[in-house]
């Protein structure tokens, strides 16, 4: 039994300690946000935040999470009330197949919580671990910039306020 703090709620899970966080999220908590892409930390489709830092959940064992807070795409908003970065992706139609997008949003969220107004190069370098095969990069960058250009760091506490 392992206790995981996911999206503001601590839950006990029947998983073995070496289980990658990805499977605890998808299979046990039934969250769709984090995606399986490569299982090797090469594509970023599984990106979630652990204490505000982006991690590859496909490699990150649940036993390494400890009491730190895990945040997934679901923490940022809902289909009815998308969060600011999610809304920016909708505004720019920054999706083709969309399979990589959950990971893209979470990695970008981490940057925008840390840096008020990142440069284009900063954004590109920060996003480099995440792959998109459809070639939607330009729109993903534009969506991130829409939030970045507001010049205010994204609020990491939005989740708690929402809850």
């Amino acid at each position: 039994m392992i206790n995981l703090n996911v999206n503001g709620q601590t839950q006990p899970l029947e998983v073995t300690p070496e289980t990658p966080l990805l499977y605890a999220l998808r299979d046990h908590l039934k969250l769709n946000g984090a995606k399986y892409g490569c299982g090797m930390g090469q594509c970023g489709a599984c990106t979630v935040l652990v204490d505000g830092r982006p991690v590859f959940s496909c490699l990150f064992p649940v036993s390494s999470v400890g009491t730190r807070e895990v945040r997934t795409l679901e923490s940022l908003g809902t289909t009815e009330r998308p969060g600011p970065l999610q809304q920016a992706f909708i505004d720019h139609q920054a999706v083709q197949c969309g399979y990589c997008i959950a990971g893209m949003i979470m990695r970008a969220q981490a940057l925008l919580e840390q840096v008020a107004r990142p440069t284009e190069q900063q954004i590109r370098e920060h996003m480099a671990p995440n792959l998109c095969r459809c070639g939607t990069h330009k729109r993903i960058l534009a969506a991130i910039r829409q939030v970045a250009d507001k010049g205010q760091r994204l609020n990491a506490g939005a989740l708690k306020e929402r809850a």
């Binding site: 299979d27 490569c38 940022l76 289909t79 330009k138 960058l141």
Partner: protein, 761 residues
């Protein structure tokens, strides 16, 4: 859904096992289909005179159903990440004169929708969109006439607003009310009432895609997200290559692992089912470690494949065009050795391309359940009907007892592992009744077992007059098939692994004018004599199949390279030289628009290491037009090529979604530049060696063009031409042409910018 007395027997569309796609060796001056023929997407033509895919399902209520619950529009096309679901929905909304959210839209389900074959080849708007365009307005007209009769007023006096029929006297009627007593179960007409484009609220407007909100918030959006009650997680263990035979394996230790429900072994087919996903993965790994394989074949390598292709069994398809007339294709009896190039070509150009991966970000996945003699499969296949036929054949089930339902996966860009994973799920669910089974391939399985985009060689010999005017053109190419779609059970990988395997249908190319490896090999340019020899290599060292744009990618790259080289030889500007050889006004238009917007001028001085390139093609010579102008920066020290700026001009007929079209072109440009600069599947004596994104690198954010501009040319009232594949070929061609201007010689072997590339020497 369909009444029992339906006059259209869907079994008529059954695939003829083993026959491959029908290839007719006839004049292709017109590409009018004949009744009974199979189209290039695997569907049977029943009504050749109807527009779009009404040809293959001419009955109106196959497309539009109206009952007490409301209006439902059905499409056999699937969302592959291109936004086509929303675009088709837009067409239905305007032609029905209904708001988008006032009716249901159902796609690709063998129990509910028309069989439109595969969603592929940029056909969805041209065929599926056109069918809905006509079916919807014909149904609307029937409803108006029925309402007029019921209200006792002339049809012309009725108005339509938001799916309500309004009479001048204030009375109104819903579509459901109007539809009572109207028989929609009848054949569509070949001519439709004229729509009013000025009343369009959706066609021509950038309507936000209906699938995006769920995708950006973690909704249930993909087949990967399906969680059925009692669902088991399965993993397969694949052989190290297609020739490997499984020796004895002791699975007892695996069967007692935590969560494992069972291990399945049947010949070379090996899989494990477990209660939880991580348990299935651990069991799969243990199983893989215990599996001992006998390798029975060695494979060509990246260095030898092109020489090997010229030695393998082949069929020679010869396509000719004389005096810019119709294109003819024949299967030639001549031996390959008897083919000779023009005696004294003005120029020759030969190029090669390596195997490439579709490289879906999400490895293939499927869910299946076998319950009460009914097998239901949720799949991201491009063709649920052909898949159903293949699975039914393999399991010996009547087709009626197999239902395939499309659920989105990650982008596929052609024939990837989707069908095979669906077959895995079907085989395992069939052996595990009443428990849904979810199969998820691992990354290395996707890379190692998806059909590859074929390695190819092209050789062009061109003859001009003394002034550079093109006189004759000979294009020879070598390739394994670009179309190994599911025409029988044996085309599904699991079927080939079983102890009693099914044999794949023999390969057959998609005929001209659409083409296969020879897609776009006939230049659109005015040339008195054109000949294309397609050496269709039937013995595949590696299984190959359709990947976005098929052979057009390298054929156009070679053609456009030749055009650039000839322009240079005769002191012409490459854009002007192309225009001198083009009559089609729409082709000329995209070229001029791209050149103007880009500011094309070879005399403009550029910074050191920069170069510009231009290219054009009309996809398949009958679909969307695309011209690309771009500027690259080559940094030898950093061993990098970056696109500084790219301008595309496109004409896809009447535009349904301007933003959707732009998104497709932007994506095509990025993907094609990644193919062209970096991508090759590593192959060696033991088979495919690319297993992950490290052994198959693709473009990442720092490599993406700094600026992409897309200029759209709208043609209201013109046929929809499709967009999803049209940027692949001209992007690659323009990129190579630009790199040539920087380095001073033409790179001939794709990909061109891997770390050891000679362009950095």
């Amino acid at each position: 859904m369909k009444p029992a007395d339906a006059p259209v027997d869907k079994s008529r569309r059954a695939f003829l096992a083993g026959s491959g796609f029908m290839v007719s060796f006839a004049l292709f001056g017109s590409w009018r289909a004949l009744a009974g023929e199979t189209n290039t997407l695997g569907a049977t033509i029943l009504a050749p005179d109807l527009p779009g895919d009404l040809k293959i399902d001419p009955i109106l209520d196959s497309w539009i159903k109206i009952d007490a619950q409301g209006v439902t529009v059905c499409s056999g096309k699937v969302e592959l990440g291109t936004g086509v679901r929303t675009a088709l929905w837009q067409i239905a909304a305007d032609q029905l004169a209904m708001p988008l959210d006032k009716f249901k839209f159902v796609t690709a389900d063998t129990a509910l929708t028309p069989d439109e074959g595969y969603t592929a080849g940029s056909h969805s708007m041209a065929d599926g969109g056109t069918a809905i365009y006509h079916a919807a307005i014909q149904v609307r007209q029937m409803l108006l006439e029925a309402a007029a009769a019921k209200l006792g007023v002339p049809t012309k006096s009725l108005m339509l607003r938001d799916g309500i029929i309004l009479s001048g006297d204030g009375r109104q009627m819903t579509y459901e009310e109007a539809a009572q007593g109207v028989n929609l179960h009848q054949q569509a007409k070949s001519v439709s009432p004229q729509g009013d484009p000025s009343a369009y609220r959706y066609i021509g407007h950038s309507i936000p895609r209906v699938d995006i909100p769920a995708k950006v918030t973690g909704g249930t959006a993909y087949v990967q997200d399906l969680r059925l009650d009692g669902m088991l997680h399965a993993r397969v263990v694949r052989p190290p290559n297609a020739s490997a035979q499984l020796k004895e394996i002791d699975t007892r230790a695996i069967e007692t692992m935590r969560g494992v429900v069972k291990v399945v072994r049947d010949g070379n087919f090996l899989a494990v089912l477990a209660e939880h996903e991580w348990e299935a993965i651990q069991a799969m790994r243990a199983l893989r470690e215990r599996a001992q394989w006998q390798l029975t074949q060695t494979y060509p390598t990246n260095d030898t494949i092109h020489a090997v292709l010229k030695t393998l069994p082949e069929r020679l398809y010869v396509t000719t065009r004389e005096n810019n007339g119709p294109v003819k294709q024949v299967l030639s009896n001549a031996s390959a050795a008897s083919i000779s190039a023009p005696a004294s070509p003005t120029r020759s150009l030969a190029m090669t391309k390596q195997y490439v991966l579709h490289g879906s970000i999400g490895p293939s996945c499927a869910v299946a359940v076998f319950r009460n003699d009914m097998l239901t499969v949720w799949t991201h296949s491009q063709g649920v009907f052909p898949l159903r036929a293949g699975i039914a054949e393999l399991l010996g089930l009547p087709k009626e007892n197999v239902r395939c339902i499309h659920a989105e996966g990650a982008g596929c860009y052609g024939h990837n592992g989707a069908d095979d994973a669906a077959c895995d799920a079907a085989v395992l669910a069939y052996r595990t009744p009443n428990r849904p089974v979810r199969v998820q391939w691992m990354r290395d399985q996707e890379a190692g077992w998806e059909p590859l985009g074929p390695a190819m060689l092209t050789e062009i010999n061109a003859v001009t007059d003394a002034h550079g005017k093109l006189q004759s053109w000979h294009h020879a190419l070598w390739s394994t098939p670009h179309n190994s779609r599911i025409v029988n059970a044996g085309r599904l990988i699991p079927a080939t692994l079983l102890a009693h395997p099914a044999a794949p249908a023999s390969p057959a190319p998609i005929p001209q004018p659409e083409g296969d490896a020879d897609r776009n090999a006939v230049p659109l340019y005015r040339i008195p004599s054109v000949r294309v020899d397609m050496h269709f290599v039937t013995d595949m060292p590696f299984r190959t199949s359709a990947m976005r744009s098929l052979g057009a990618y390298i054929n156009v790259t070679t053609i456009e390279g030749m055009m650039d080289d000839l322009a240079e030889q005769f002191g012409e500007d490459p854009v002007a030289y192309r225009l001198q050889h083009l009559d089609d006004p729409r082709a000329r238009d995209v070229i001029q628009r791209a050149a103007n917007r880009f500011g094309w001028n070879l005399a403009t001085p550029l910074p050191e290491g920069h170069g510009i390139g231009f290219a054009f093609s009309q996809y398949k010579n009958l679909m969307g037009y695309c011209a690309i102008a771009l500027e690259v920066k080559l940094d030898k020290a950093a061993r990098s090529v970056r696109i500084v700026r790219v301008v595309a001009a496109v004409d896809c007929g009447q535009i349904v979604s301007p933003d959707g079209l732009t998104n497709q072109i932007e994506g095509g440009i990025v993907q094609s530049s990644s193919w062209t600069l970096y991508e090759q599947a590593l192959v060696g004596e033991n088979g495919v060696q690319s297993v992950d994104w490290s052994s198959y690198p693709i473009a990442r954010f720092p490599h993406i063009p700094a600026a992409i501009e897309v200029e759209l040319i709208d043609r209201p009232g013109a046929p929809f031409l499709g967009a999803a594949e049209i940027a692949q070929a001209p992007t690659a061609a323009a990129l190579i042409n630009a790199i040539k201007r920087v380095v001073g010689w033409r790179p001939l072997h794709l990909p061109v910018a891997r770390q050891d590339s000679p362009i950095f020497a």
